[in-house]
Symmetry: C2
Subunit: 340 residues, 2 copies
Amino acid sequence: MTFYAMYNRCQRWRSIESDKIMAVTLKQIAEEAGVSIRTVNRALKEQTGIGDVKRQEILEAAARMGYIPNIAARNLRLRKSSFVGIVTGTVENDIFIRKSHDLQQRLEVHGFFPIVGILQNSPEAARTMLSEWAGMVDTVALFAWRDWLPEDVLVSLPQQFVFVDCPMISPKCKFHQIKIDRSSGIKDAILFLLESGRSRIVRCGSIGSRVEGVEKAFRSFRGRDAEKILIETGGSEFEDGYKLGKSLMESKADAVFFDTDRMAFGFLKYAWEAGIRIPDDIAVVGFDDDPWGNYSCPSLSTVAHPIAEVNEKIVELTERRSASAETIIFPTKFVQRQSV
Amino acid sequence: MTFYAMYNRCQRWRSIESDKIMAVTLKQIAEEAGVSIRTVNRALKEQTGIGDVKRQEILEAAARMGYIPNIAARNLRLRKSSFVGIVTGTVENDIFIRKSHDLQQRLEVHGFFPIVGILQNSPEAARTMLSEWAGMVDTVALFAWRDWLPEDVLVSLPQQFVFVDCPMISPKCKFHQIKIDRSSGIKDAILFLLESGRSRIVRCGSIGSRVEGVEKAFRSFRGRDAEKILIETGGSEFEDGYKLGKSLMESKADAVFFDTDRMAFGFLKYAWEAGIRIPDDIAVVGFDDDPWGNYSCPSLSTVAHPIAEVNEKIVELTERRSASAETIIFPTKFVQRQSV
DNA sequence: TTGAAAGCGGTACCAA
DNA sequence: TTGGTACCGCTTTCAA
């Protein structure tokens, strides 16, 4: 038997035995109101089949005792949940964070809340994390992934998985995939550079996932009077762009396309220190649409991810839990600012 | 009765009746292995009191069937959870995001996962959101709050609440509070400005929470040969700092302290366009330690929040669920970069 | 060494 | 209009 006492004026109920706050349950309300649990349930759910007087009594008792339904119990019984998993990468201030923040806002509109996690370094650890979410989360959106076989890592996990912009996943993967067509925005960027009279266009970046988009974009301009130069670099961070400054200027390029905005910002810093004028001496385009591109000196032209479209799709999948794996591609967009 | 079938080579079990993936339960493993649920539980939990042969059989069956424990059910039974609520503000790319991302990483180290939400506009909506987390989350860290009485909004919610850097909360509030002493870092910033020969120091910001820290810092330098000027501004964003540029330069100040880094970045842009040299013409200090301060031209001196200390404290509270409300204050720190 | 059974809190079918 | 009760999946006490 448990004894309860009013907990000062804020009307919170506590167990006398422990300091732990006991949440009020349907059973307690039923005892208080002298009815059955089922009746309390009906009153709170505003279902029919209950007298107005009794309903009022029960609602008052519930309010007085400060009843808060236990969502874990409800989810268990209904075998569904209002939580959605989001897995992101670790890089601070990276686009992952913006993407997941946008998704968070969209999910809330539809009554879902995100459970967030950072992608682990080993497939075992990643799997463990996702297992920890079993029963709490029906859908998991993966904004980051590594060179693992999804089928192996996710075997027998009960959730629905949505891979977002994870290019290494094979097309016949049996999980949902939302892909991003990097080349569309890059194409527009290069077109803009060509039309504004630039002819020696450098790409700075690593041999990685973003190459294909750039190559595809460049190919579609074959025959135009422009030269494509590649300066390879391992990294994709601010420092990498900064260090590239010297060799970049020596290449006599009149436009440069960076694989990430962060690299572009690094080059902006180099240019600022070296007295290079942008865009007069060289035009600069980044990739990611980091919000800081609005504020840099000069503001940075870039290629934007289709964040809104991607996240709306995730919300849609969350709501209907599609049985068969879906694949959908959204295009990127060129954003013109001061640096071109 | 439910029928199961092997789901192709990945060994996932499905109910034949529906497309919905049925998670394998202890009961199913028990039936498969011909033992009781309790025995399966003992085997999986690696408890004593079970024969080695039987344990091996059960573990194999569980692995073969792809057993994933249902955390919602476990939490319900144990009346505790491995999830922690985090409530943030809405501003994109704001410090909220960095704080919560750091907390996320620290929580994961201790086996917790965040459930994240954005602070709603009305107290009712905020309360509804937190109710939705009842039973899922034992502790909620609030990185944002409004001008509401916590006692009223949070009445009878079963979780433990930690207010982080929410200055308007009264000291005798019966929830945990982690406060930030803004003046300590500002004091060091001003000291640096004085020692580097500046004497006309402007503060740009709104009459709000951050005033006190600045005033306190200035007071401790009374008697020194320096003049304090206040330029009041409503906002705290990039545009606000940009717009302030003109009147700021007209004030003949030789140093300026902004309430937020974002405002400082706005002023940096103005200075860049107007040909004002920083720090030669005027020294600039921001507040928040936005990572972009490393990359701006020039890099921005600022005052940093004690994010690590605050978040370690939250983790500690999460782990021991303190019964009595605790209040703790951490100091801010001056970060010197190119702009001073 | 094993298993039956009583919960955790909420939902909803079925009978009264 | 009501209430009894069997779940959801997991944990743990207690008895065999």
